[in-house]
Symmetry: C2
Subunit: 352 residues, 2 copies
């Protein structure tokens, strides 16, 4: 369960890597945008390509994330403080954003769009996603009084539905009926793929448990959709600046969490107590997947993000068959088929 | 398992009831058809209404069939010969067809379309569905060497896919891509709804078991699609005549089955040994659902039939909650949702 927390925390994220390696690409694409003004075909193709690349990156990073979790479980239990790891993930993402920005400043000079300094009007919304995730993570401690851990994993699929609903309401973007059908199927398929002999216990969840699960799904969905809204509100603003500020607040909130949750452990045993090679790998992976999430928010949307992480979950299971000799259940095959069909429907059902 | 056999046998069926109670309706609808020649709106509405009525009838009859099976199991084991019950189902359907025809002859007189006498060219294809079902039922005895009964119930969902594929190949009717997606989901959803803790055993099925399951699915799908082809080949021919000949061959094949399988029991204990009130109810139900299947074949198609019987399976489970205090599993809810979405997709994905 522990690494889940890291994952939840870094849902608000940066696309630093994009600028690290893709700066010239961005310049090139805006030149092309000017050149093809009127037809727009090439720009659209480049946008599609970029969308595809970031989506694949997110899928691969998310699936390797889950594999690292399994690996760490096999390797034994790690006695590090989860809050310190979360803090380091935010710090790493912040550092990568700054690194990307220094390269951009060197190449393009400082402009209104890429300067780090900001206004209260721009920055005031940036703490909100981090605060939402913190609140959700606090709730997570209480929900286990009502639901066991496997049950919680199943209830987390409610996130899919809440993201879809809030995406519609807050971002006012429309999905076609076929795409909605696909989205419901995505939720059913993911849950089916996770079914095991104890899953039925989740049906005995009491009313407070259900309410908390729904509130958590709404918080998580809202944080995701709100992050997309922040990133897309100023289209010309450089994303690395936007991410920098998102991550600064992520660092602040996680620092507070260290003080409240793990102060004694950190004071007595040190900040890095219990860290190992695999902990470092996982922090690296979480930071990169965080960046990938941000890029997907910028170049695609929350819906694509949900599809991407869902497909990642299935990929993880398939890879685990080879790596850890996992056995796939019939429920997994059925769920995977349903998820595949839902991916097809999302693309086939596009509003023209 | 025993009643399954009855069910499999009467997949080729009659719409006698339609004529018993719907004669005036048929006359009325042909009058309307003439009146609205050119616009066709009313005719279409009547066709849709008729399609809806027969589909609902099939759904309700099929679900009550399964409830009778549960009831009969609760009431204890019945020591009657299954082959004699199958034979009586065919006989009852044959009698109902004749009864419907006598009414038609009285109202309309004997015409080329409703006369009972037939040609070799017309009748030569009628034994084929009955023969296919017989062959499939024989295979059923052998497949249990490779698969257990719950596993067989799961593998039977392959029928859905085989029906879709053969419907496309033999009847050359097109489904849209969205409808194909719906059909795959229907298969996944039905299987998911039936999942239990032992379902994974079906994945250990050996190659001969898989081959037999696929052959059985193809035989069953082929018999269904072939029956539709026979019924629709001569559109003006009265369906009760077509059904009469189908059922005559059903009687013949089942008579042969009595001789080969239950000759001793029938000779020593009598034809009706072990019959009870519930046996009679089940025979009646099977005859009526057989008739409903035939009506669906005539006024709709095999795809609608598959959807109808699948939805019936889900309805049965829901009704069983109230009747027998069944507990519905999480898998059932997920499967039902997937089936519901697939029904929506079938209708939303219609080729225009």
């Amino acid at each position: 369960m522990e690494y889940r927390k890291i994952k939840d925390d870094d849902d608000e994220d940066a696309s630093d890597v994009e600028s690290l390696k893709g700066k010239s690409h961005t310049v090139a694409s805006s030149n092309i945008a000017l050149a093809t003004l009127g037809t727009g075909g090439s720009t659209e193709r480049i946008n599609w390509k970029r969308k595809g690349v970031v989506t694949c990156a997110l899928t691969i990073l998310t699936s390797s994330q889950a594999i690292l979790i399994v690996w760490s479980k096999r390797a034994g239990k790690y006695e590090y403080s989860v809050t310190t790891a979360n803090f380091l993930v935010e710090t790493l993402k912040c550092a990568l954003s700054l690194l990307a920005l220094t390269r951009i400043w060197k190449n393009e000079g400082v402009t209104d769009d890429n300067r780090l300094s900001t206004t209260y009007d721009e920055v005031k919304v940036f703490p909100i996603p981090a605060a939402l995730y913190l609140f959700k993570n606090l709730l997570q401690y209480y929900i286990f009084a009502y639901v066991d851990a496997p049950g919680y994993q199943i209830l987390k699929n409610l996130n899919i539905i809440s993201t879809g609903v809030l995406y519609r309401i807050i971002l006012k973007k429309k999905l076609s009926e076929i795409q909605w059908a696909g989205f419901i199927l995505l939720c059913c398929g993911c849950t089916t793929a996770q079914l095991n002999s104890n899953s039925d216990r989740v049906l005995q969840t009491s009313l407070p448990g259900w309410i908390m699960a729904i509130v958590m799904a709404l918080l998580s969905g809202f944080a995701g959709v709100y992050t997309e809204a922040i990133i897309k509100r100023r289209p010309s603003r450089n994303i690395n600046v936007q991410n920098f500020w998102l991550y600064v607040f992520g660092m602040v909130f996680n620092a507070v969490a260290i003080v409240f949750q793990d102060f004694d452990a950190v004071a007595n045993k040190g900040f890095f107590h219990g860290y190992s090679f695999i902990t470092v790998l996982m922090i690296l992976n979480h930071a990169l997947s965080g960046i990938a999430v941000s890029m997907v928010m910028k170049y695609a949307d929350n819906i694509v993000k949900v599809y991407s992480t869902s497909v990642a979950m299935l990929l993880t299971a398939v890879v685990s068959v080879f790596l850890f000799n996992f056995h796939l259940s019939l429920a997994f095959f059925l769920g995977s088929t349903v998820v595949s069909v839902s991916v097809y429907l999302h693309s086939a059902g596009k509003l023209l």
